[in-house]
């Protein structure tokens, strides 16, 4: 018995495979170890003694075939050589026969293997691969609608979710280099373990593409930091939920929206990344509205709240750069966000006047008599930013000037002042800052036209955290 064997993998649909069919017949006649695996038509090519039906693509997957035709040589059961497409010299070397295909052109590129077609590769990985997904399998009856099943099992935020099949999860996991079993963190309120695989399953539910997964994973990690305080944010009777701001090149790569309607609907990455985080909290953490989630009203951002900073044409450094990251780094910043309040000023041409105007609006955050409020996010529009850029103002100058106008006279804050009991007791100070430690988060976003900006109110128990996104 010979110590070697030859394997060829072909499909009829490939013109190069059709071209080299006579070569395979020739090799087959001279070497009975040759086995030809065929991916589409089990009868192609004719005249081969050992023609094997691989329409199930198992051998193509196991042999890691990317191109057809591929010719492989095995010695004592181990692969020692392979060539893809048709290169006469290579085929002669691998097969050990010369000359081959004298009447054929010297070379012809091959075609893509059926085993690597989109959608197929994940299916094969589930069928034949070594990656084992650990999550419990839930059988859906043949008469059940799988989306209804997801609703009934409580996996949804109220909108339809994408049924998390093994194939979809394998496809989702292709978006990260991290292994499915790696622990991402412990998710409140029930403090359950959360693996990369569980995040991927919820990213599937949310409708994410695999390339969003690194953003989702980092958002989950950030939400689970002690400083961010996800448990309290979930449990509070206040409006807030987690809001994600993404900075850096990944926002362009995955097509996030930082421009027209950036805080609104219509962009898949924005919508599904924010939703995936909320579904992780719901499904893994057990954070169910009316259960541990005690929000009196909540806010629509609790379905999803995620957008990118418009940094590519910004005159100012981005939020992430302010926080010490390189402009080339991609980052996720999390905020406790209680909803969007419009700030409208279409008249101020002078940067100082616009600061006064912003301050007047910001002072009403929560209540006009509240000082030391948790720092909100000011989403400044491109048109408003231009007022400052045109006047040569840096972001620091803008912030400092704004803070100067955000000092509240204590007399106006006292309980009873203005006929309103809400307020503070008398203290030995003339003024208090509107926002705790004079902190205000500034993010630039929005469309080209509109002299509006936005106040995104915060919640006191959470600290905004930024983390760099890793693949």
């Amino acid at each position: 018995m010979s110590t070697h064997s030859l394997i060829a993998v072909v499909k009829q649909d490939c013109p190069t495979c059709a071209l080299i069919a006579p070569v395979l017949r020739e090799i087959g006649k001279r070497d009975d170890s040759l086995a030809v695996y065929t991916q589409d038509n089990p009868d192609f090519p004719t005249g081969i003694a050992n023609l094997i039906d691989d329409t199930g693509l198992e051998q193509s997957y196991r042999l890691n075939i990317e191109t057809v035709p591929t010719l492989l040589r095995f010695e004592k059961g181990r692969e020692v050589a392979r060539t893809v497409g048709w290169h006469r010299g290579d085929w002669e070397t691998v097969s050990g026969f010369s000359p081959l295909g004298a009447d054929l052109p010297e070379t012809r590129p091959g075609c893509g293997s059926k085993s690597i077609e989109p959608g197929i590769v994940e299916k094969l990985a589930v069928q034949f691969g070594e990656t084992v997904l650990a999550a419990r399998r839930i059988e859906v009856g043949s008469l059940e609608d799988e989306i209804e099943t997801c609703f009934e099992r409580g996996w949804s935020d109220g909108l339809p979710v994408v049924p998390p099949t093994e194939e979809r999860i394998m496809h989702m996991l292709s978006g990260t280099t991290r292994s499915p079993g790696e622990l991402v963190g412990i998710v409140p309120p029930n403090y359950n373990k959360c693996t990369v695989e569980k995040v991927a399953i919820n990213a599937v539910l949310a409708g994410c593409k695999p390339e969003y997964l690194p953003v989702v994973l980092t958002a989950v990690e950030t939400a689970l930091t002690e400083a961010f305080g996800m448990h309290g944010l979930l449990a509070t009777t206040f409006f807030a939920g987690p809001m994600i701001v993404v900075n850096g090149p990944i926002t362009r790569k995955i097509g996030m929206n930082a421009r027209v309607n950036a805080l609104g609907q219509g962009n898949r990455a924005n919508a599904t990344i924010g939703r995936a985080l909320q579904l992780v909290i719901r499904n893994i953490g057990g954070g169910i509205p009316g259960g541990i989630d005690r929000a009196m009203l909540g806010n629509p951002g609790k379905y999803t709240f995620c957008f990118a900073e418009r940094e590519d044409d910004s005159p100012w450094e981005s939020l992430a750069v302010e926080r010490g990251y390189s402009p080339d780094a991609s980052t996720v910043s999390l905020f406790a966000a209680s909803g969007v309040t419009p700030i409208m000023d279409q008249a101020s041409r002078d940067p100082d006047a616009l600061c006064r105007s912003f301050a007047a609006c910001l002072k009403a955050d929560g209540h006009p008599k509240h000082a030391n409020s948790p720092p909100p996010v000011l989403v400044i529009s491109p048109e408003h930013t231009r007022r400052y850029a045109d006047a040569g103002w840096s972001k620091t100058r803008f912030r400092d000037t704004l803070n100067q106008y955000l000092q509240l006279p204590v007399a106006e804050l006292l309980s009873g002042a203005g006929g309103i009991p809400e307020g503070i007791r008398a203290i030995d100070k003339e003024t208090l800052p509107k926002f705790r430690n004079n902190t205000l988060h500034i993010v630039r976003a929005g469309g080209d036209a509109g002299l509006f900006s936005a106040l995104i109110s915060s919640w006191g128990g959470s600290q905004s955290i930024t983390k760099e996104i890793t693949p």
Partner: protein, 90 residues
Amino acid sequence: MKMLDPTSEQKPAQRERVKRPQSLAGLTIGLLDISKNRGDVFLDRIETHLTQRNLKVNRYIKPTFTRPAPIELQQQIATECDVVVEGLAD
């Protein structure tokens, strides 16, 4: 079709039934006649037993046993009753 569980898997894989009440006291009981022959005879006896115990009973009737109850009837029962007794066969 198989799906992978997105939760922390603390609950049984099979969907749990809605919890049964410990007692019927204070609850409204719906009796749904599915329009099958003599279903009303059975439900009349049930009603007699329940009302003797001073329980509140509402009666409902499906237009035909061959189809699911109309949505409007389902909603009416769901908003008016805490539990339902339904005769499924004759």
